[in-house]
Every structure is written in structure tokens, then in C-alpha cells.
Subunit: 324 residues, 2 copies
DNA sequence: TTGAAAGCGGTACCAC
DNA sequence: GTGGTACCGCTTTCAA
């Protein structure tokens, strides 16, 4: 493998000049540049990344921490990775399977300068511990982190859920069921808070009999619909709010199988406005996840780039379709 | 951030000795070691990985290339990652989403010494091109690669499929349907070859009307069962061989919903012997994917370790349960 | 526009 | 057991 030094010797120029060519410095004679580039081609030269990283003190790599990869975080992940790429950073993904040891490895890689920054999709490590790594490089989280120095980009789902509730109530739906995600999560808490607040405002009873928990994907959604029908609950429910569009999709298609008419017998509202909700015509809440992915990088950029990039302003939007 | 040099100065010992401590060299006075370790703790010292990589000429990182991550490759991935870890190598995952550019980046990282080796779960790049990167480091593939110098660890599914066919035929099943995966894949080709060979041997007709293609997951399996029932084909079919256990699971549960009795009305055979087949009691073919993941690292180890590790001998096994 | 040389933070060989 | 020192391959002043 050729090295910069060899290129210098062969070309008759100094290492400095060869380095300038490599970094597109304007202070190189075009002919000199051409000669050197030509030699590089011939020797199939590529710079050693470790040497660059060591000399520059940065790796142009960002670690992304996630327990698993599924449709829910994929839009965020894709958006983040592409944005980082646009600014010359490569993303390396740490799949932790929920194992704290593996996760700590990512933080250690920040400390050891193997990555310049860290984006957390989800984490099982104590935020206080995470914050101690901030001195080694920037860290951003998708989900909310309960620590004053840790920044995150997802939005408070209280807002989004309120949009959905207001819409349903205005349309005259009164008995509203909820299919929540992880029961212990902040998102679920906020959704429940929103639901209960709106019920109060309309002087309606809180129907906690119609709370479903740990509902995440299509099969889960199907199961909820099966339950509603088989227990006869469906007779008493006017509408249901879903953890995400996949859950809504499962409910929607299962309803069809069961011969339930949507939205007459029950209205369905998804969350996130992902492709599937559009395909099936499901009313949902637009959650600008793509922009959140960009914002995540922008936050890191505050310490990674000389010119930090201003963040997108984010807001939820109701997308009314045929299920309400 | 403290450096080795500073540790040396503060401790009064030389860089060489500090380095020895770092690398657990036996040639260090225990008291010296303790003193130096103590200073390291106090300064919260961690060695710079880039410097180590540069000096050693290796990164102890292995790149894993995959288009997406799903249940099918997860066992392979997990096994590979854990095995590599056992030998001190960290895996970094390149998710390409089928984009050749992103994939080439991984190969480039090998060339630029950012990773010491590459494991390919699936690739869309021409094997001849891949082979040109072998001079920069070891490369191994899970799936078969059609190039003399490229090694892979998955097995010829002709063998596994034959086991299933033999089992069905011996039990008296005669009309056998096939739910294949990717229609253009080598695996599908081999399975079809096996099926046709066994039919010939038993003087039975090849039922290509009962070939299903691009069947990959639970919903796909459900759909196949729906089709069999709705078209009445189920009356004529004795058994069906599935692309994998998820497909079999989808068929199995859908059969229940449709009131079809298994294996009386139709026998079902899965593939891979993953957890779900055990849970549901589905007859399947044990495919030692975990060992394939280990073998993948072992093949890389031939060029990564001084003592290469001998490969596992692999073989398929029939696992008979209640669906045949 | 170009070159010389001092880093970046470790490793490893050779002395003692 | 310990120290001196020449690398590893590239970047980045500082001069010329």
C-alpha cells in the first residue's frame, strides 16, 4: 500500500504539497496537482484513515445507538444518516439489543475518539451517566432524556395527541379508546394526560376500561380489534386512538375482516403519518420524524462544525382521511 | 484528555513502560504497574484508539454489510458479532438499504484500514469487484458468492430441502406445494431442483401450479393459506414446504382461523428451526445458522489471527413436530 | 506556490 | 524490569 510519503518522493514534491492536493487546497499549482493526482491513480493510493483521524483529532464518524431496528425508528435513522453524510460524517450503528454493556461500548468509543459524536435512538442507561460523557463529545437523543444538559429532538406527544382528541370530539365522537405503546414510557404518560384533560374539558368520563397497553405493531393492532369485537366492547366505543400507524393499520384491516364498518362503527386515528396510513386512508397525526433526524445532526453540529446549523421548527399536524 | 506521554512524565517512567502496563506485559514490576495504573485512574486516562490503530496497523474492527436487518439474518448477525467480540474484534454494521454506493463505502473502509475485515450478509455488488478488495483484507460472505476466491458459510439448501421431502414422502404425502422465497435466488433454485428430483424419483408429477414465489414472512404465509383455501387448492394438496419458519407460522395460524386441520388436511414444514417453530410445534429443518455466524468469523480469523480457528462441520437435521 | 519539520498518541525493537 | 527512540501516515504551522 502506497503512502503519502511515497507519493511525495516519487512526484518530487514534499509531503506538504501532496497533503494539500489531498485536501483540495487552493494553494497548489494546477499542473503540480495534476501530476500528483496522476501518480496517485497509478499507485491506487488511498489515504490511511487512522492517520488522518489521529492527526486531525477527529474521525468524521458518528455513533448511533439503538436497541433494535424496526419500522418505527427507521425514518429517524435514515434521515439522520443521510443528513450526517451530507456534511461528510459517516454513521456507525451500535445495535445493543438492550444490553447495557454493548451500549457502554459506544460511549467508550466516544471517549477513545473512535467517533466524534453520538446519537441515541433509545437507551437503557441512566441519563446522569450519559451526561458524564458529554465532555468527550456531543451527544443527542431522539427520545426525551431527563437531564438538564442532554438534548433531544422528539416532540411532546401531548401536543399531537391533543390534536387527534380535539378532532374526534369536534366530530362528535364521545367514547374514545386508547391503544398505548410501552406502558412505562413518557410518551404514553403524556398521551394519557392529554386524553384525561380533554375528557375533563368536555365533562366526559375517563374510560380506562378501554386502555390497551404495549400495543406496537400490526399484529398487536389486529389483536385489539379482535378483542373489541369478541368482548362486545365495540358496541360502546366510538373511536380509538392508536400508538402508531401500524397499530391503526392492523385494526383497520382486521375490522374489514370482521365486517366492521369504519368510521361508522368505530373511528380510527393513527400516529406519525407514515406511508401505510396514506395507503390505507387512515386519519393520523403528522409527526415530522424526518426533520427530527435532521435536527439531531444539527444539534451535534453545534460542536462538530464551525458553523452550527439552525434547527427546524417542528409541529404536529392533523391529517384527516377516511377513518374519522 | 491525558495522553500516554503525560502518564509517563507524571509517573517518572518511560512511555515504553507505560505502554507495557497498558498491554499487560509480564515484564513490569508489579509495584511499578500499580503506581502507573493509579495515575491512570486519577487522570481518567483512556488510550486513543486511532493512535493504536495507526501504530499497530489494525483496528480490531470488522465491518458487517447488510441491506436491511430482519429476523431472518438476526441469528447470523448476533452469532457473528458475539464471536468476533470473543476474540477482541468489534463489529460495525453497514446498513446499505440495497444502495451500492453505501456498500462500496464499506469496501473502501477496508482499503483505508478503518476495518480489518468484512462480513457480507447480503450484497448487491458484483462478486468479481468484491474479490478485488481481498488484497486489502479478508472478506467472508454468508450467502454463496459466485467467485473462486470468495468464501461463504451458508449451506446448500438442496440438502436441507431433501431432508424435508424425504420425510414427507415417507409419511405418505404425495402432492407437495412449495412456498419459495426470492424467486431469482440460488436457494430457491436449489430447492426447486431438490423438489423436482424427488418427485422424479417417486414417479410423481411436478406440481408447478402449487409453486408460490416471494413468500418471506408471516403475513405472506397467511396470504398463501388464504389463497389455498379460497381457490379450493387445499383439497388437492397434501403438504407444503415453506421458505422459512415465519412463513410456516403464518400458514399455521391462518389455517387455524380458517378451521383447517393440521396435518390432516395439509401438512406444513418450516425451515431454519427458529424459536417460533418450536413455540408453535411446527416440523422444520434445523439450519445451524448460529454456527455459520461463528464460521464466518473463523474464516476471517485465517488472516486476522496468528492461529486460525478450525471451522465447524455443519449439517441439516430434520426436526419432527406436530405439523407432519 | 512550495518545503521543512514538529506534532497527533501510541507501539516495538534494541540496549542496558 | 526499564528506557531510548525510530516509526505508523497524515496535518499543519512557519519560512522561504
Amino acid at each position: 500500500m502506497a503512502s503519502l510519503d511515497q507519493i511525495a518522493k516519487i512526484s518530487g514534491y514534499s509531503k506538504a504539497t501532496v497533503s494539500r492536493v489531498l485536501n483540495n487546497s487552493p494553494h497548489v499549482n494546477p499542473q503540480t496537482r495534476d501530476k500528483i493526482l496522476e501518480i496517485m491513480k497509478q499507485l491506487d493510493y488511498v489515504p490511511n484513515r487512522n492517520a488522518i483521524s489521529l492527526a486531525k483529532g477527529r474521525t468524521m464518524q458518528i455513533g448511533v445507538i439503538t436497541a433494535v431496528i424496526n419500522e418505527v425508528m427507521l425514518p429517524f435513522l435514515n434521515s439522520f444518516v443521510k443528513t450526517a453524510e451530507r456534511y461528510g460524517f459517516q454513521s456507525i450503528i451500535y445495535i445493543t439489543y438492550g444490553d447495557e454493556k454493548k451500549e457502554l461500548q459506544a460511549f467508550n468509543d466516544l471517549k477513545q475518539k473512535r467517533v466524534d459524536g453520538l446519537a441515541i435512538v433509545n437507551s437503557s442507561i441512566n441519563p446522569d451517566l450519559i451526561a458524564t460523557y458529554l465532555k468527550f463529545g456531543p451527544i443527542v437523543s431522539w427520545q426525551r432524556m431527563n437531564h438538564p444538559e442532554l438534548q433531544w429532538v422528539s416532540m411532546d406527544q401531548y401536543e399531537g395527541y391533543s390534536l387527534a382528541l380535539e378532532h374526534l370530539l369536534q366530530k362528535g365522537y364521545r367514547v374514545i379508546a386508547n391503544a398505548f405503546g410501552r406502558s412505562a414510557s413518557i410518551n404514553t404518560l403524556n398521551r394519557r394526560r392529554a386524553y384525561e384533560a380533554w375528557m375533563k374539558q368536555y365533562n366526559l368520563p375517563v374510560m380506562s376500561d378501554f386502555y390497551y397497553s404495549d400495543i406496537h405493531n400490526i399484529p398487536d393492532g389486529e389483536q385489539v380489534m379482535v378483542d373489541l369485537v369478541s368482548t362486545g366492547k365495540i358496541e360502546h366505543v366510538d373511536a380509538i386512538l392508536c400508538a402508531n400507524d401500524y397499530v391503526a393499520a392492523g385494526m383497520f384491516t382486521q375490522a374489514h375482516r370482521e365486517g366492521i364498518s369504519i368510521p361508522n362503527e368505530i373511528a380510527i386515528v393513527g400516529f406519525d403519518n407514515t406511508a401505510i396510513s396514506k395507503t390505507l386512508g387512515i386519519t393520523t397525526i403528522d409527526n415530522p420524524v424526518k426533520l427530527q433526524g435532521e435536527n439531531a445532526f444539527f444539534i451535534l453540529s453545534q460542536r462538530l462544525l464551525k458553523e452550527p446549523i439552525p434547527l427546524h421548527k417542528l409541529s404536529y399536524k392533523l391529517v384527516e382521511r377516511e377513518t374519522t
